[in-house]
C-alpha cells in the first residue's frame, strides 16, 4: 500500500446519464444519478450504503468499480487512480475488486454449469493449474457440496445460487467486495444464512465490503460504518453505533423509524416523511430533501447544506444540525 492514500478513496465522484436524443428539442437535462460523493474505506472495513431505490447507490457502486465510467471525480484504490489505468492494468486490478449482485438468477448464466461459471474468473485471469480442485474448494467454502459443479442454475434455489455468486466473487481472493443488495431477493430464513456466510468469509479472508442495502436492520448488523444516500448525494456518514444512537439527518432518522418494529408495544415518536423521492433529473433547489422533510426551514429551500462534522467522524449535511 502506498502512503497517504487509504485503501479505497472516492473523491467527488459524479455520474450523469444523458437522455438519448430522440426528438429535437426534447428534454436533455441529465439524470444526476451520482452527484459528487466522497468517502474512504479502510482495509477490511465494511461500509454500508443505504437509501431508497433511485437514490444512486447501485450506480455509485458500479461507477467506482469502473463498470460505468464516471462523469467526473476520482477513485483511488490502493493508491492507484482507476481513471488513469489502461485496460490491462485495470483488468489486473479487477482481481482484487469483485461484486455480488442482487438477483442471482439473472447474474448467473443459465446455460452454463455452475462449475463453468466458477471456472470463468480463472480463465479470464490466466490461471490454468488445479482449477477444478480450486472450484470444488470454493463451493465447499460457501457451504455447497461438490455435486453442484454439474448443475445448472434452474436446478438450484435462490439461496444456493447466491452462494455461487459469493463463491465467484471470492474466487480470486479479492480485497474489496461490493455487495449490491445481496439478500433482498431472498426469503427471511435464507437471508440469515447468507449474512452469516458473508460474515464468516469476511473474517477469514479479510475482505473489505461495500454493502448496499435499503434495510437499516441488516446494515446495523453487518456494517462498521454507514453512508446514507439521497438523490445522488451522501447526506450522512458515521459509525454504526453513532448513527443509530444519534441520527443527524432527518432522512436517516426516518429510515431507521420506518423499519417495522419487532418490539411489540413500543411505539416511538415517529418522524413522518411525506411523498416520494423527487425526479433525479430535476432535483429540488436547496437541500434536496426539503420537499419531504418534516423539519424544514426557510433556508433549506434556498441553500444547499454541505457535509459538516458534528461529532468525531460523524458527518451530516443538514442546516438544523449546524446550530
Amino acid at each position: 500500500m502506498t502512503d497517504n492514500h487509504s485503501f479505497l478513496e472516492v473523491k467527488d465522484l459524479k455520474k450523469y446519464f444523458l437522455p438519448r436524443k430522440t426528438i429535437p428539442g426534447s428534454n436533455t437535462t441529465p439524470v444526476r444519478a451520482v452527484d459528487g460523493i466522497s468517502f474512504t474505506l479502510k482495509e477490511g472495513e465494511t461500509l454500508g450504503l443505504v437509501g431508497e431505490s433511485g437514490c444512486g447507490k447501485s450506480t455509485a457502486a458500479r461507477t467506482l468499480l469502473r463498470l460505468e465510467s464516471p462523469t467526473s471525480g476520482s477513485v483511488h484504490f490502493k493508491g492507484k487512480n482507476l481513471a488513469s489505468l489502461s485496460e490491462i492494468e485495470l483488468r489486473n486490478l479487477r482481481k482484487e475488486m469483485q461484486m455480488i449482485f442482487q438477483d442471482p438468477f439473472s447474474s448467473i448464466n443459465p446455460r452454463r454449469k455452475i462449475g463453468d461459471v466458477l471456472r470463468e474468473p480463472f480463465a479470464i485471469h490466466g490461471f490454468k493449474e488445479n482449477v477444478s480442485e480450486v472450484v470444488i474448494g470454493l463451493l465447499e467454502q460457501v457451504g455447497l457440496s461438490s455435486d453442484y459443479v454439474n448443475r445448472y442454475s434452474h436446478e438450484m434455489s435462490g439461496g444456493q445460487l447466491q452462494r455461487v455468486g459469493i463463491a465467484r466473487a471470492i474466487a480470486l481472493n479479492p480485497t474489496l467486495v461490493v455487495a449490491d443488495e445481496p439478500v433482498s431477493a431472498l426469503d427471511v430464513s435464507i437471508q440469515a444464512q447468507i449474512i452469516n456466510l458473508m460474515m464468516d468469509l469476511r473474517e477469514k479472508l479479510e475482505i473489505a465490503f461495500l454493502f448496499i442495502s435499503h434495510d437499516m436492520s441488516i446494515v446495523e448488523y453487518f456494517c462498521d460504518r454507514v453512508a446514507v444516500m439521497y438523490l445522488g448525494k451522501i447526506v450522512e456518514i458515521a459509525s454504526i453505533e453513532e448513527i443509530y444512537k444519534r441520527p443527524g439527518h432527518p432522512y436517516t432518522e426516518a429510515l431507521i423509524n420506518a423499519v417495522p418494529g419487532m418490539e411489540s408495544g413500543q411505539k416511538k415518536q415517529k418522524l413522518k416523511v411525506r411523498g416520494d423521492i423527487p425526479d433525479p433529473s430535476n432535483p429540488p433547489q436547496g437541500c434536496s430533501f426539503h420537499t419531504r422533510c418534516p423539519l424544514k426551514e426557510k433556508q433549506c429551500e434556498e441553500m444547499e447544506p454541505t457535509l459538516k462534522e458534528i461529532a468525531p467522524d460523524h458527518y451530516v449535511a443538514c442546516f438544523l444540525k449546524e446550530k
Partner: protein, 291 residues
C-alpha cells in the same frame, strides 16, 4: 389477521382460493369450507360469487404496476369497479372516484383520475389499488404483500394508511406477508404457514413473545432487529436448509428436516393442531417449553 410465511408456503394460494380466483382446472379446492356471513362460498355459482368478489371481499396485490391496466386511466379503472357493483350515473361516479382517491391521501385527486398508471410512482399506484378495493366498502380486505415492492419509507406510509382505513371503516383485513415486522405494526392475530399448512396461530404479541412452534421461533430470531444488544461479529440464528417444494414435501412433520429439535416421531407422524389457552393453536409434537 395476518398470514406469514416464506415464498412457496401457500399464503397467496389460500387468499386466492377464498375469492375463488384460481383457474379451475388445474387448480381444485379439494376439501374444506369457506364460510362468509353464514354462506359457504364454495357452494355459490359464478354469478353469486361475482357479487361477493370486489363488493364484499376485495383484494389488493403485491405489484401495483402489473395489477393495474396500463392502457386505461386511473379514473376509467375506478369507475369500472363502481359501475359494476352500484347503480350510479356518470357524474356521481366521478365525484365518488375523486373522493376515494382523497381518502387514500393522494394529492390532487381530480388530476390523478386522468393519469395513466405509468405516470404514477409505486406508492401512488398502491394507493390507487387501495382506493379501488375500497370502492364498494368491502367487509373484508385481502392484502397480498401490499408493501413488498415498495421502498421502506413508502411502506411505512402505506401501512399507516391501511391501519387508519381499517379503523375508519371497520372492515376486517387479511394481510399476507413474509415480514414479521410488518405483522407487528398492523395485525392483531397471526397465522404462520409452512409448506401449505398453518403451523401456529395466536394473538400477535403473544405469539411473538412466546413462539410454540420451532419454525415461528426460527423466523423471529433469524431477523436482525434494530437496537438489539449487538455484539460485534455475533452471528444470526439461521434456519438451515430451504423450503421444500410442493412436490417433495417430507413425511411426518413438514418442518422436521430443518428443525433443531426433531425426533424420530417427527419423521413419521404428522403433528396435529392442538389448542392451548388464549386462542393459541400450534402443530408440534414437542412441548412449547422444550424449544
Amino acid at each position: 389477521m395476518a398470514l406469514v410465511g416464506e415464498s412457496g408456503c401457500g399464503k397467496t394460494v389460500s387468499a386466492l382460493s377464498i375469492l375463488r380466483l384460481l383457474p379451475e382446472p388445474p387448480a381444485k379446492i379439494t376439501s374444506g369450507e369457506i364460510i362468509f356471513a353464514g354462506r359457504d362460498l364454495l357452494s355459490l355459482n359464478a354469478k353469486q360469487m361475482r357479487e361477493i368478489r370486489g363488493k364484499k371481499i376485495a383484494m389488493i396485490f403485491q405489484d401495483p404496476m402489473t395489477s393495474l391496466n396500463p392502457v386505461l386511466t386511473v379514473g376509467e379503472q375506478l369507475i369500472e369497479t363502481l359501475l359494476r357493483h352500484k347503480s350510479l350515473n356518470k357524474k356521481e361516479v366521478l365525484k365518488i372516484s375523486a373522493q376515494l382517491l382523497g381518502k387514500v391521501e393522494l394529492p390532487s385527486p381530480e388530476d390523478k383520475l386522468k393519469q395513466y398508471p405509468h405516470q404514477l410512482s409505486g406508492g401512488m399506484r398502491q394507493r390507487v389499488m387501495i382506493a379501488m378495493a375500497l370502492a364498494c366498502e368491502p367487509k373484508i380486505l385481502i392484502a397480498d404483500e401490499p408493501t413488498t415492492a415498495l421502498d421502506v419509507l413508502i411502506q411505512a406510509q402505506i401501512l399507516e394508511l391501511l391501519e387508519n382505513l381499517k379503523k375508519e371503516t371497520g372492515m376486517s383485513m387479511l394481510l399476507i406477508t413474509h415480514d414479521l415486522g410488518v405483522v407487528t405494526e398492523i395485525a392483531e392475530r397471526v397465522m404462520v404457514m409452512y409448506a401449505g399448512e398453518g403451523v401456529e396461530t395466536g394473538a400477535t404479541k403473544d405469539l411473538l413473545d412466546s413462539p410454540h412452534h420451532p419454525y415461528t421461533k426460527g423466523l423471529i430470531s433469524s431477523r436482525p432487529h434494530l437496537g438489539s444488544t449487538r455484539e460485534k461479529g455475533q452471528r444470526l440464528t439461521e434456519i438451515s436448509g430451504s423450503v421444500p417444494t410442493p412436490h417433495q414435501r417430507p413425511t411426518g412433520c413438514a418442518f422436521h428436516p430443518r428443525c433443531d429439535w426433531s425426533t424420530e416421531q417427527c419423521k413419521t407422524k404428522k403433528p396435529l393442531l392442538q389448542n392451548t389457552n388464549q386462542n393459541r393453536q400450534f402443530s408440534c409434537h414437542l412441548q412449547p417449553e422444550s424449544i
